[in-house]
Amino acid sequence: MKFLQRILASVKPNFEKGGRFEKFHPAFEALETFLFVPGQTTAHGVHVRDAMDLKRTMMTVIIALVPTLLFGMWNVGYQHHLAYGMDASLMDNFWFGCWKVLPIIVVSYAAGLGVEFVFSILRGHPVSEGYLVTGLLIPLTLPVTVPLWMVALAAIFCTLLGKEIFGGTGMNFMNPALLARVFLFFAFPAYMSGDIWTDLSPEAGQAIVDGYSGATNLVAFDANYHALPSAGDMFWGFEQGSIGETSTAACLIGALILILSGVGSWQVIVSCFAGALLMGLLLNGMAPADVPNHAMHTPAYYHWLMGGFAFGAVYMATDPVTAAQTERGKWIYGLLIGAFTVVLRVFNPAYPEGMMLSILLLNVFAPLIDHIVVEQHIKKRLNRA
């Protein structure tokens, strides 16, 4: 630590006003405050003083993401070896996946932070920490086979049009990571749906097993929900899907970290799950009795376990910038996300995963929800007066 501090102190004059690299001060400042608590205080006005600044908040979310990341890496290897009918040890699976996932993460960070640095130097504001989480969320929402240049393009797109254009971190009205995914989903549909969920890079002397199917559970259940694997498999995450989304268990560990640290809103998480369950039960009640395989018959709690529902509810919907801000608004926001997700999944086979689209939709509606809640509150108070 001392060593790092000395290095930073020795190069600092270069980046100060009048120094050689004055222009790059935002970049230097970002690195310095990333490593150490900033030494200066705000000049005037009253400010909230708390150790929990934006950087620590972001780091907490990243720590909460680690379980899904590790499990995702293992699952990439597991699915790969499963498709080839090979027996692989725990570490074999993990290293295979790690080797496949790391480049995606590196590219995502490099592209997104590149845009952030360019903008902060152009506009002379400090580099914001917002991308730390976004950069990790993007790879976790993508299939492992996605070409790296697409990841870079999506990261640039979401930083530019999702955030910078509105004024940077904290000003965006849509979740940037989901924006990156939705960009890829519509721009390159062939690489975001279909038989792309398992890495099928050839193995010497091995052929893909006969029973292999590239369809995810979300596609399978539209035709016949009986084809779904057991609830246990889906809960732990032994299924195909995007890198980070498969394991509901890992997401719940993350949810625990977020809730205990107070970073994520438990109201949003709980209401998302409740919304999906209620809508699932409603559809169960309305399901046609003469079509026993119809998707509407799917047990309601299956929606918690399939696809990216848990991942979206825990890490995406809780984004403090884009979610509803009022207490009651959070409940409405979460319930609607859950309900829309199930509706999209069941009734629209063209978009197998409804989570992404319903979170984005409710991101747009969040300010309206807040407005209505506040107005209602004012009206109630006026009536009482």
Binding site: P147, W149, M150, L161, I165, F183, F186, A187, F188, P189, A190, Y191
Partner: protein, 226 residues
């Protein structure tokens, strides 16, 4: 552009002001950038989203709109003294509808495939906000020749946006420009893929938004105008 028509309109104006006096040149050139109908006046965005998937229909559409705005401006300006204020909208509509029908019929006669691609959008030039906007804002109060130039300028300003957006959309969406393959095959072999989002209308909106962003970053005068 306006060579063959300028003779028709010239006698109206030639007395005081030179045909291409400084003021008239500004009327023609302002809408190309500083007062662009799409990016500054924010008019005619709907059709800019719809017809910009490929370059060729976009150019045809731009020419069509230019003709309609120019001549409707001219005609309305000629008869502006005689139009009763209460029914001016209806009179304007009749003139615009006449011109749009002419453009539509000409396209159908000579460029049937393009006409099919543009489908209803030629007919919908009549609802293009630029046409009515310029009639109300300019032609009703100005002499015929400046009105005509204003129509040409606004049509071309609209055309510039259409061409810029459509070149980007066709280049990245289908790898071609004007129907000619531009992206070489070896890039596809390396793993390059056409961007499907470019074929969808939202991307046109993004591109126009980025255009506005760049335009206003370059020209501080435009910030906080609209």
């Amino acid at each position: 552009m306006s060579v063959e028509t300028s003779t028709a309109a010239a006698p109206q104006e030639a007395k005081k002001d030179g045909l291409f006096s400084k003021k008239n040149r500004r009327v023609l050139s302002d809408p190309l950038d500083d007062n662009n109908p799409v990016t500054v006046q924010i008019l005619g965005v709907c059709s800019a989203l719809a017809v910009t998937v490929q370059v060729k229909p976009a150019i045809i559409m731009a020419i069509g709109v230019t003709l309609v705005t120019a001549f409707s401006n001219l005609i309305i300006s000629l008869i502006r003294e005689g139009i009763p204020g209460r029914i001016r909208m209806i009179v304007q509509l009749v003139v615009v509808a006449l011109l749009v029908t002419l453009v539509d019929q000409i396209l159908k006669a000579y460029m049937f495939d393009v006409s099919k691609k543009l489908s209803v959008f030629v007919g919908l030039i009549i609802t293009n906000c630029i046409v009515m906007g310029r009639l109300e804002a300019y032609a009703m109060a100005q002499k015929p020749w400046p009105s005509f130039l204003d129509g040409v300028g606004n049509g071309l300003g609209y055309g510039i946006i259409l061409v810029v957006v459509s070149v980007i959309r066709e280049l990245f969406g289908s790898g071609s420009v004007m129907g000619l393959k531009v992206v070489p095959q070896f890039l596809y072999d390396l793993g390059y893929v056409n961007n499907g989002l470019m074929m969808l209308p939202p991307m046109a909106l993004f591109l126009i938004g980025i255009y506005i962003w760049i335009q206003r970053a370059r020209n501080q005068k435009l910030v906080n105008v609209s």
